[in-house]
Symmetry: C2
Subunit: 291 residues, 2 copies
DNA sequence: CATGGTATCTGACTTTAGTCAGACACTTCC
DNA sequence: GGAAGTGTCTGACTAAAGTCAGATACCATG
């Protein structure tokens, strides 16, 4: 059989099924059935809201109730009433529960580290995993406003600069570009938007304002593992809507013809070319859009 | 939290766990417990040898026996004695079993197709999946002798030519190169080795002989998704051992300095450079090794 | 404040998965 | 040919997972 798409996909499915099964096995080593371990993990990760966990793990209410009682009996969790709705309940880890949760985390993390360590090119493997994870859960990409100095934002900007350096024949040196002050990309003057899927930053865009009716769109970047999903378009639409919110009438941006996808996107979405409006050495095309 | 390696890995793990779970759910739709469905699928895929299936699915002999009886009772399989060992048994699908097996296959395949279809770049996604699958099961790469005209071999050669075309500034045209007759790479004159993991071809190498004491190593290729795992070295070691088997005393090969990894590998493994021994336009370095 | 809807709990189940010891027929090796 | 080992089957279990029909307490609405 030649390796057609479907059988390649299914080889992948077999490999990950084995891996997932092996992780489950290792979870059993802590003397607790898998169902209880999963609930404990969900509580440690998230809100502890019983209904939410139940929806996430797709558990019957009866089963859920019993599993919670089991964990409570072990002294790992404590149940509290929901502050706004006395029918609901919130589970919280006790110190012992936190220790047990950490032990499960360690199992997962060690497995991850071991697998990455024995691979010749961990960064390439992670990039592949990012792409697969994004493809498997494409609906989960969420946009949010963020401080441009947050770790996630810094990560995106770092990737953005690295990509510019690769794309420009002359390389790219941040210090030569007019690096906007982070304060210009924070409300009320501007904003900074992040696209994230399950915690992983996949893209960003900045809105740099000076308090006037004109602002600049900067730092539009989408991770290679998430390209083609329309994320850039979503980011641009979101940043325009934030700009309107801030009372901005005109948006500008500069870009480079070495980034043809970006240029095409701007043209498609109502931007028109204008003459150079700064003396930054890197851009060679300039756009404007009235809101 | 910045996206460190481990949390990227674990995002991937969450995404595939969800996907695996969803596929299991869809399998349940056929009114048969998962255990029985898995056994039926294993029988449809492979040999039907009970011991083999039991090892693959890690099932207790008692459980296995009951699951088989259940499938037999449904009229989906028939048990036959093993021709060489009367203790062992072989399971074979009945026509009804084949239909049921196909229904499960369709569920999996449709899922795969749907996911690939909604992705903007299916080939990139598949390459990522290949890399992940190979990383998750690195021990499973098996070398085997194959006909160079088999579909798997053709696939490898096609990838090999495409890669040469990318790597050479001048491009690469197979017809200009001295394309060996497939017959020269078949025993007794030569051989062709494939590296495969779970059915997916990951690499190849050819041994081209003319019946004399000198033969040529050709077409060494390793898939990008499996590089760095020492596969090229394994292929070269295997081809040398086949050559000894065939009574060949001296091996030669030609290559190009645009492929520095290959050149380094040859130097590391006991080959020494010799003068040009053909007038093929592409190679510019020539090696020899005595066995 | 009555009504319908919601979140969780309880008890009484069934099904599935997994374990273990022993039986049996066969193979392998001395 | 006998001893040790192997592959499968059987019966008797346990544990885990999942289902379902109330019960109970609470919320939202008119």
């Amino acid at each position: 059989m030649p390796p057609d798409s479907v059988s390649r996909f299914r080889r992948f499915a077999r490999a990950v099924t084995t891996e997932v099964g092996a992780l489950d096995q290792s979870f059993l080593g802590r003397g607790r059935p898998l169902g209880a371990a999963r609930v404990l993990n969900a509580i440690g990760q998230g809100t502890g809201d019983v209904a939410e966990i139940r929806a996430y793990l797709r558990l019957d209410s009866g089963l859920m109730s019993r599993l919670l009682r089991g964990l409570e009996g072990e002294g790992l969790i404590e149940m509290q009433p929901h502050p706004e709705d006395a029918r609901r309940r919130i589970a919280a880890l006790t110190p012992a529960g936190r220790r047990e949760f950490d032990a499960y985390e360690t199992l997962s993390n060690d497995r991850a580290r071991a697998l990455l360590a024995r691979h010749p090119d961990p960064e390439a493997l992670l990039a592949a995993m990012d792409m697969v994870a994004t493809a498997l859960s494409p609906d989960s990409v969420r946009l949010s406003e963020s401080d441009p100095r947050s770790p996630e934002a810094r990560y995106c900007l770092g990737e953005y600069y690295a990509e510019l350096a690769r794309r420009f024949d002359t390389g790219f040196d941040v210090s030569l570009s007019r690096d906007p002050e982070a304060g210009d990309m924070v409300r009320p003057r501007g904003s900074f938007l992040l696209a994230q899927s399950d915690g992983l930053p996949l893209g960003c865009v900045g809105l740099k304002g000076q308090g006037g009716a004109v602002a600049e769109v900067k730092r539009l970047w989408v991770s290679p593992s998430a390209r083609g999903l329309g994320l850039a378009r979503r980011l641009m639409a979101a940043v325009e809507s934030v700009a309107q919110d801030l009372g901005i009438a005109t948006l500008r941006l500069d870009t480079n013809s070495a980034l043809p996808e970006a240029v095409a996107l701007y043209r498609r979405s109502g931007w028109h070319e204008i003459p150079r409006f700064n003396d930054d050495p890197y851009p060679d095309i300039f756009f404007e859009k009235s809101l």
